[in-house]
């Protein structure tokens, strides 16, 4: 279950709220609730879910040596696989790592087909992750997907955005005062650490 305490049974946020407040409201909705609404055919919930994870999925495909076009295709295939499995992914509390695994498998499949058909894919060679390296990445992104929306958005903007935006740019993007970002960043990272430590503890048990 979602560990941030905003899973099924809690107050539902209206995703179709006024645009001015929609940005804030959307990121407050947990993955489990979004998946549940997708099962009911809620297109807004699907849009939020895709916007939340499309960068992660696309980047996994790029990391596996695909061109932009092929990585875009893999991103679509991965989300379509999520729809195909949407009744089986109930209770998934690490949607990020689930999507990463599917995207990586799809990318491998595409690369294998390219080798068999003897045509080149991207110009960038794939990053060869060891099992341990990949597991650490999936572990981290699985933890991130359990954070609440504002924390996840902030950490992704500060640490995962390849354009390396300044604090001022991030503050504008997230609609927050720049002076609050430093302490919020520390609180969010501390929360992420607790989530990941609890998971490590569960794995040990």
């Amino acid at each position: 279950m979602i560990s941030d305490g905003r899973g099924i049974g809690t107050k539902r946020v209206d995703l179709r709220a006024e645009p001015a407040v929609r940005g804030r409201a959307e990121c407050e909705v947990g993955d489990e609730e979004l998946l549940s609404r997708c099962r009911d055919g809620d297109a807004d919930a699907w849009r939020v879910l895709v916007e939340r994870y499309q960068r992660l999925v696309f980047s996994v495909a790029l990391r596996n040596g695909l061109s932009m076009e092929d990585a875009a295709d893999i991103t679509q295939l991965t989300f379509m696989a999520l729809l195909d499995s949407i009744d089986q992914v109930r209770g998934v509390d690490r949607l990020g790592s689930w999507l990463m695994t599917v995207a990586r498998r799809q990318a491998w499949r595409l690369r294998r087909r390219a080798v068999q058909e003897q045509h080149s894919l991207g110009s960038v060679p794939p990053v060869v992750d060891s099992v341990e390296e990949w597991e650490r990445l999936a572990w981290l992104h699985g933890g991130l997907s359990q954070l609440n929306g504002p924390c996840r958005d902030l950490l992704q903007a500060l640490y995962f955005d390849p354009s390396e935006p300044s604090y001022a740019e991030v503050a504008v993007r997230l609609g927050r005062a720049v002076g609050t970002l430093g302490s919020m960043r520390a609180r969010c990272l501390a929360r992420l650490r607790r989530i990941l430590q609890e998971e490590d503890q569960d794995d040990v048990n």
């Binding site: 990445l137 640490y159 995962f160 520390a186």
Partner: protein, 217 residues
């Protein structure tokens, strides 16, 4: 149990260490911290190690924005998916088709000799809200009839239909149609009373009357 003060201290230390690793401390404070950390408590060293690993992993895979068309395609795919999913959970709509045109009736009314002149075929056209149905009916030498039909469905309907002829004792024949909605029942007894065409979403029911001394010819 940890006091609130302890927690606050830990929070401040965590933020200080993070500022240091993020390169956000003035040079003199960064140097002082760098010298102090190797001699710090194990807990502090573990925090530094964890933060360092987080930064390494974050840098290892930056998150790139896919082209906007990806989101657009996925929104479209979701619309189709949810429509199909909703249809799966609903029984098909059963609609009764109304006879619009029957060549035997219309020709007789108009005083024309009849379908004998048209290679022993009768033409029937039915309609309902979601599809039209046209049939060509020809008398076979064995006394039965051949039914060639086509369902002309609305654009958003699945075009492939199954056609089923019903008689007094139940289903007589059933065939699958093609992608243009066409189907053929080569031999149907003339006591058939009903034709049903169905595609999973829609059942279109048309009444048949193939009997009589010269049923359709």
């Amino acid at each position: 149990m940890m006091s609130t003060d302890d927690e606050a201290d830990r929070g401040m230390i965590f933020e200080l260490l993070l500022d240091w690793l993020d390169g956000r401390l003035p040079e003199h404070r960064a140097e002082a911290l760098e010298a102090a950390v190797p001699m710090a408590q194990p807990e502090t060293q573990a925090t530094v190690q964890w933060l360092h690993e987080f930064q390494v992993l974050a840098r290892a895979m930056p998150l790139y924005e896919p082209p906007p068309v990806v989101g657009q395609h996925l929104r479209r795919h979701f619309r189709l998916w949810s429509r199909a999913r909703a249809a799966l959970n609903q029984p098909p709509a059963e609609l009764t088709a109304t006879l619009l045109f029957g060549s035997r009736l219309d020709l007789a009314t108009a005083g024309v000799r009849g379908v004998d002149d048209q290679e022993h075929a009768a033409h029937l056209a039915y309609t309902c809200d979601r599809a039209d149905l046209v049939l060509d009916i020809t008398r076979n030498s064995d006394g039965g009839v051949r039914v060639d039909g086509q369902v002309l469905a609305a654009e958003d309907e699945e075009p492939v239909f199954e056609a089923m002829v019903i008689g007094p004792r139940g289903v007589i024949r059933a065939v699958d149609g093609d992608e243009l909605g066409r189907f053929c029942l080569p031999s149907v007894p003339d006591d058939a009373t009903e034709l049903r065409v169905m595609n999973g979403d829609l059942i279109n029911v048309a009444a048949l009357d193939l009997r009589g001394p010269e049923p359709v010819v």
